[in-house]
């Protein structure tokens, strides 16, 4: 099967090279056969990648330990789910997975794009094929997943224990899907530039793709936080690790694009900016891959490092230079159709929102690269950890949260003082009431107070928007409140789905603010001994060590420490945290012992228990107990955000291309008739 896999990679490389060469030389123009050969090569590449992926999967499932990748990431006693997910557990396999999904997306773009954008498709195919060919080329020449060993080990090394978590089966694919799908909007942007089709057509063609990409990145990032929280055992979910930052960067620029593209659609402004954002987002996705795989910056995600990072660096530089040069050559054709009329307008609010989103992206990138820069300039290494990132980014993040509430309140073009008064009164009052309530309750952490008060303001904005929409529908159609609410969202999914996304974002901020009140302690307990802990919400937890039991599971020896939990004197049940020594099928230890935390999650706070080990091999256990406030809301916020995103991109219900102009005409009729009273 490895021969077949190798062959499939070569076929994919040749087809990708053919498609890219024919597309970019433009020889397909006027030659229907060549034009068809481009899309045919895209489908052929996908077929070849499917064959390659199946070949590696077969090696994994049949325990063909002569394949270096199979021996490095699986063992005979590895649970079957993780054998399947081992395809993306290591460097080489994840490159194969990336190329497979990219070729799938490239095929879908060819198949699903409406025919009115047919002129763009050969160029899109050229871009996607070039990127796929790069990945395949990297595999063939630097990270071949089908490489064989000189001997066949009796068993493989197994999967890193930290990756043996259900989250591992979905978190990396979601992130990869997010990263990979960015290539399609990038392809359309390059196609628009190459074909000089610089109207809003390409924007409409990529709307779904950008949302899909943003959704996958959102899911991937949230799942990554969840995985870090339940698996890494340090009691947090975001450490500003370079690889975490790398996933955040394209998400930020993509979020900026999703806002600024509305200005281009409605007002014909920001064409250059939008193209720049799409190109930048694509480059950041490649940059993330470079960071993850090069090891150039220290990261906890060290399991995928190798020298292929420099392939990505070269690709990043070449594609960046080419794309921005292309943008520069089309610069004069990308002039805005109208100009910004007032700083008190929704366009201006979106501009500032873009400024802050790109500013945060720059700030995160700057902080991530600052250790390298510092070493280059001063010759000494520094550490840039969470205190740095929090100090620099939290104020910008709070401004961004404020703009989340401001944007929807301001009218397009120019807002009048009366409009501002009418729109802002209730949300500002909500924010102020929240602020006073927090201060009265004794809260004193500045950033937490600001985050919660601004969350109150944003909530006020969103509730007001929904309330006005429902009221208008009730007035116009006589509908009940629930019917009006559902139809309001259904008839304008893009707008109200967007508000749901904002709800998700404000819930995120509420959850983030909770970490300012985290409590943690260490304790050594003999069986029967207890320790008490006070939570920020005023509850008293009594934690009694019950003992340590040891047993064997499928691929590990487990030492489980059990704690009996009482909250305010009321029994809450047992919690268990484990130390796991993973072994291969010959019972030989494969990795260092790992820790599985015990988590009791609630709306107010999580009790997080980590079994550190035992004193002198006895049942006397060392624990770390942590109380993390409001963490549950982070996962709920992620759900709301994704739900809102799905509503936004659900087919139908959104404004059409011509909607703005029709709407303007409608307003004039309404004005003359006075029918909008």
């Amino acid at each position: 099967m490895t021969l077949l896999g190798q062959f499939a990679l070569w076929v994919a490389l040749l087809l990708g090279a053919w498609s890219a060469a024919v597309a970019f030389t433009g020889r397909w123009q006027g030659r229907e056969d060549l034009r068809r050969s481009i899309s045919g090569a895209v489908y052929g590449t996908f077929a070849a990648m499917v064959v390659a992926a199946l070949a590696l999967w077969k090696g994994l499932v049949t325990h063909d330990f002569n394949i270096e990748y199979v021996a490095a990431y699986t063992s005979r006693n590895l649970p079957s789910g993780y054998i399947v997910s081992a395809l993306w557990a290591g460097q080489k396999g994840s490159l194969l997975f990336w190329a497979l999904v990219l070729s799938l997306f490239a095929s879908l773009a060819q198949l699903l794009t409406p025919r009115r954008y047919a002129a763009l498709l050969p160029y899109v195919a050229g871009v996607t094929s070039a990127v796929t060919a790069f990945f395949v080329c990297t595999m063939i020449f630097a990270a071949n997943p089908f490489e064989r060993l000189a001997f066949t080990p009796a068993d493989g090394r197994g999967l890193n224990p930290q990756l043996q978590n259900p989250g591992m089966m979905i978190h990396p694919p979601m992130l990869y899907l997010g990263y990979i799908s960015i290539t399609i909007p990038f392809g359309f942007a390059v196609a628009a530039l190459l074909s000089r089709s610089l109207d809003t057509g390409w924007i409409h063609a990529i709307r779904k793709w950008t949302l899909v990409s943003w959704l996958f990145l959102s899911i991937g990032i949230t799942l990554g936080m969840w995985w870090a929280y339940v698996e890494l055992g340090w009691g947090g979910y975001w450490a500003w690790d370079p690889v975490e930052n790398a996933s955040l960067l394209p998400w930020l620029t993509m979020t900026a694009f999703l806002h600024s593209v509305m200005i281009q659609e409605k007002r014909g402004m920001l064409k250059r900016w939008n193209l720049g954002l799409i190109i930048g987002t694509f480059l950041l996705s490649i940059f993330g891959t470079f960071i993850t795989r090069s090891g150039v910056i220290a990261s906890v995600h060290s399991f995928t490092q190798s020298n292929v990072g420099y392939f990505f660096l070269a690709f990043l530089v070449v594609s960046g230079v080419l794309a921005f040069t292309l943008l520069y050559t089309r610069w004069p054709s990308l002039k805005a159709e109208v100009q910004l009329e007032s700083m008190l307008s929704r366009e201006a609010a979106f501009l500032f929102n873009n400024l802050l989103l790109v500013g945060v992206a720059f700030s995160v990138l700057w902080g991530t690269l600052f250790p390298i820069l510092s070493e280059l300039v001063r010759g000494s290494k520094i550490t840039v950890g969470p205190p740095f990132f929090n100090r620099v980014n939290v104020p910008i993040g709070l401004l961004l949260l404020a703009l989340t509430g401001v944007g929807p309140l301001i009218a397009w073009r120019k807002a009048s003082p009366a409009n501002l008064r009418r729109q802002f009164t209730a949300p500002v009052a909500t924010g102020l009431v929240t602020l006073v309530g927090l201060l009265a309750s004794g809260m004193r952490d500045f950033y937490a107070i600001m985050a919660l008060a601004l969350a109150g303001f944003v909530a006020g904005t969103i509730v007001q928007e929904f309330w006005r929409g429902v009221r208008a529908r009730r007035r116009m159609h006589g509908e009940s409140v629930p019917t009006a609410f559902v139809r309001l969202i259904g008839r304008n999914r893009r707008r109200y789905g967007g508000y749901l996304v904002h709800v998700g974002v404000l819930i995120y901020f509420v959850a983030f603010s909770g970490m300012a009140f985290k409590r943690e302690m260490e304790a050594t307990l003999k069986p029967g001994q207890s320790v008490q802990m006070q939570s920020p919400f005023g509850h008293t937890y009594t934690l009694t060590h019950m003992g340590v039991s040891q047993f064997e599971a499928l691929n590990r020896i487990v030492s489980a420490a059990t704690v009996s939990v009482a909250k305010d004197g009321k029994p809450e049940g047992l919690m268990t945290s484990e130390k796991r020594q993973h072994v291969d099928s010959f019972k030989r230890p494969t990795f260092e012992p790992s820790t599985e935390v015990g988590i009791r999650s609630g709306l107010q706070e999580d009790l997080y228990i980590t079994y550190a080990g035992s004193v002198n091999g006895t049942e006397e256990a060392v624990y770390r107990f942590t109380i993390n406030p409001l963490v549950w809301w982070l996962w709920f916020g992620g759900f709301v955000l994704v739900f809102g995103g799905v509503v936004t991109m659900w087919p139908g219900g959104g404004p059409t291309v011509a909607a703005p102009r029709q709407a303007v005409a409608g307003y004039e009729v309404a004005l003359v008739g006075g029918a909008r009273e």
């Binding site: 100009q339 000494s380 302690m521």
Partner: protein
């Protein structure tokens, strides 16, 4: 079958009574005395020491949160030594912090001592001085500069648009809005605000 003699019977009864007593010795007592031994101590990683007050003292914790572990984990000393418990560096660094604290050094003196010994990379965030100020100030400064530039640009543009509008007044196409009263215009704005996306 031989009948059981009185001596044998009492002997066996005594042996039965001794079994639970032996088991109780094996069992852990509630927070006191000896504790049971694990079957496989290796499986729980490195042997741990009994936690002392200074291990979770708030002052020590706050210092350790500002010091980077040098095992390559990217975590701070407190988080590293209380996370996967396999690191051998962070417990050593912790002991150094505790020793300095016991010697009467202030938090800043302890941080300075670490920088002197391990270099600036011992800190979780570089000191905001010298070249490091670029790290702290550049993002915010750029955002402020871009925001100010945007304000200035739009302000200039507005003046130009207003000038062009005044010069061209009366020559443009007649629209409902151009002949509307202020009340009607406000109504239009409200209608736009309610319906627009």
């Amino acid at each position: 079958m031989n009948p059981l003699g009185r001596r044998d019977f009492l002997g066996r009864l005594g042996a039965l009574a001794a079994v639970p007593a032996a088991l109780q010795v094996q069992d852990s007592l509630a927070g006191r005395g000896s504790v049971g031994t694990l079957r496989d101590p290796y499986a729980v990683g490195q042997p741990r020491e009994v936690t002392r007050i200074e291990d979770y003292d708030e002052r020590i914790k706050s210092i350790e949160h500002r010091l980077a572990c040098n095992c390559g984990c990217t975590l701070d000393v407190f988080t590293c030594r209380t996370t996967d418990f396999t690191c051998t560096y962070s417990p050593k660094l912790h002991r150094e912090v505790v020793a300095m604290d016991k010697a009467g050094k202030s938090a800043q003196q302890i941080l300075d001592a670490f920088v002197a010994e391990y270099g600036e990379k011992a800190l979780m965030a570089p000191k905001p001085e010298g070249f490091n100020l670029w790290g702290y100030l550049l993002p915010g400064s750029l955002i402020l500069a871009a925001g100010a530039g945007l304000f200035a640009f739009v302000g200039r543009r507005r003046v130009a648009v207003a000038g062009a509008g005044a010069a061209g007044s009366g020559t443009g196409p007649s629209t409902a809005a151009s002949t509307a009263t202020p009340e009607e215009l406000e109504r239009l704005r409200q209608a736009l605000a309610e319906v627009e996306d």
